[in-house]
């Protein structure tokens, strides 16, 4: 039982990372209807910027994190401005191909940095090595930090969307671009903002992942887990992305422990099939339809 709970908790913490990536993915999808296949590479860039500032430059942890997160956010916003804005109005498939191409380019760029491409690395934090005890359950402090940080970020996002003018405008654009324009919202700025926020949030995911798993230039594929996570949650639901990500992490962790080797790799897709069979619109699928 203790072992089971321990697996669940370590699953939740890796699931939190998936959840954050999925949140960035869904954010962009809702605001711009773009399926962003470069999201995993943004996470990789965030993680390696963090690695550079923390390990190579030996900056204080908090400062390094702030710079890495801001830089990734700006990079994402720039990608939107330069490569995606000209694609507005093009078929969704063409836009998707652009994001795949951007992902490849980011990975290629990372490979050109000698310190990044040579090795798989891990960021050690002051927490590394210590543990948190909950009764009989022992959790590594890094895992616990991931869960706490995710909870804080998700709360922050919730407040942003519910309480701020810009947050409401983003919601409005995702629900009726036309009406949002009639209200005076500049939908293009909202697209850039969505990419900026998604860049920041995936950088956080990368930074949180770095102490609990190895990071390497090809870790972007991990970011593709955001897609099954988003699908499980209903694809365009922010709470759904979070629940989907965490569920995915837990299933993988349990499958890795209790099932024969190989199951944890496909757990994501089995979970997608099961959820979609039971609830085709996903767990948090939006079911209110516009009335005419």
């Amino acid at each position: 039982m203790v072992q089971f709970l321990q697996q669940v908790i370590s699953g939740v913490s890796i699931g939190c990372v998936y959840a954050l990536i999925a949140l960035g993915f869904v954010l962009i999808y809702k605001a711009t209807e773009t399926v962003n296949f470069a999201i995993g590479e943004l996470m990789m860039i965030g993680a390696f910027l963090g690695f550079t500032f923390i390990v190579i430059w030996s900056l204080p942890l908090w400062l390094a994190a702030i710079i890495a997160i801001s830089a990734t956010a700006l990079l994402a916003a720039m990608l939107e401005r330069v490569f995606l804005r000209p694609m507005v109005g093009e078929p969704a498939f063409a836009i998707l191909v652009v994001t795949i191409g951007l992902g490849f380019c980011l990975r290629a760029a990372a490979l050109m940095v000698p310190e990044w491409s040579s090795e798989t690395v891990r960021i050690f934090t002051p927490l590394s090595g210590s543990v948190v005890r909950l009764g009989p359950i022992v959790i590594s402090a890094d895992h616990a930090a991931v869960i706490v940080a995710t909870a804080l970020i998700v709360t922050g996002f919730f407040v942003f969307f519910k309480r701020t003018r810009m947050g409401l405008a983003m919601q409005a654009v995702s629900q009726s671009q036309l009406a949002a324009t009639y209200m005076g919202v500049r939908t293009r700025s909202v697209s850039t903002l969505a990419w900026l926020l998604a860049g920041a949030i995936t950088a956080v995911a990368g930074l949180l992942l770095a102490p609990i798993a190895f990071i390497h230039v090809n870790m972007g594929v991990l970011g593709l887990k955001a897609i099954p996570a988003a699908i499980i949650g209903g694809f365009s639901s922010l709470p759904g992305a979070i629940v989907g990500g965490i569920l995915l992490g837990v299933c993988e962790s349990l499958a890795g422990f209790y099932l024969p080797a190989g199951f944890s790799e496909v757990a994501a897709y089995i979970l997608v099939l099961v959820v979609l069979t039971i609830r085709p619109e996903g767990l948090f699928g939006e079911t209110i339809h516009k009335r005419v």
């Binding site: 009639y182 209200m183 209110i288 516009k290 009335r291 005419v292």
Partner: protein, 257 residues
């Protein structure tokens, strides 16, 4: 009379190579209710979208309050005092009723007055107050239309563009909506440009009318005169166009960009 609040002269608007508005000129005097009548596909919505800036005219000029609107971004038009109640309402279905109304004030800076205005509009529509905290997508069609009107009025516009407010509503609700339109015009002095297929109600509510056929204005004048016009009587007031309206309610989405 003074300068009209809004004038269109020889406006032509295209969807790709399809010319939807074919050289339309019209004038909307300040304080008036002006209606544009026309059947399906006549180009009524396209005219309103061109005024709102979400579509660009290829030829012609639009002037609002003595300023040319050429080159003004769609998102800036509302700041000049033009508000749009779109065809099919386009409320934000997952936002609450109150948040929808608040969105109407997106460009306004006077925070304290905004709260007061929201309260005032909720007072005028008790049914909306009752559901203020619910997602707007749960409202009935008539309630959504009321919400779309409140939302549009939150920017305190000089000119209100209304695209087929009676769409899909029962005759009783339609009359109620037209009553609201008249009240808005009288109480706030808001100038209204109203696009309608329900010619009877539109002509009895508006002061001036234009009749649009395949992108061209074919008739114009005070509504009292139009009501006596033989063609209007036969084609717009005669056998009602209920049948036509019933058939066409598939929805076009976001095709303006």
């Amino acid at each position: 009379m003074t300068q009209p609040l809004l004038t269109l002269s020889n406006v032509e608007t295209y969807y790709g190579r399809i010319m939807a508005v074919r050289g339309v000129s019209l004038a909307v005097p300040e304080g008036a209710i002006v209606t544009i009548l026309g059947s399906n596909g006549a180009g009524k919505s396209t005219i309103l979208k061109t005024i709102s800036g979400v579509m660009r005219p290829r030829k012609g000029a639009i002037t609002f309050a003595d300023k040319p609107l050429a080159g003004v971004e769609a998102a800036d038009i509302v700041g000049l005092g033009i508000s749009h109640v779109p065809e099919g309402r386009e409320i934000f279905p997952f936002m609450t009723v109150r948040e929808n109304i608040l969105m109407g004030a997106y460009l306004r800076a006077d925070r304290t007055h905004i709260e007061q205005d929201i309260e005032d509009w909720l007072d005028r529509f008790p049914i909306l107050r009752e559901r203020a905290g619910l997602p707007a997508g749960l409202l009935s069609g008539g309630q959504q239309q009321m919400l779309a009107i409140c939302r549009a009025m939150m920017s305190r516009p000089k000119l209100l563009l209304m695209d087929e407010p009676s769409l899909g509503l029962s005759p009783m609700l339609t009359r109620q909506i037209f009553e609201i339109i008249r009240e808005i015009n009288e109480r706030f002095g808001t100038t209204i440009l109203l696009v309608e297929q329900n010619a009877k109600l539109a002509l009895s509510t508006a002061h001036l009318g234009y009749v649009l056929e395949v992108g061209r204005i074919v008739l114009e004048g005070p509504t009292t005169e139009l009501m006596d016009n033989a063609d209007v009587k036969e084609f717009y007031l005669g056998l009602s166009n209920e049948g036509v309206r019933g058939e066409r309610r598939w929805k076009r989405k976001k095709m303006w960009h």
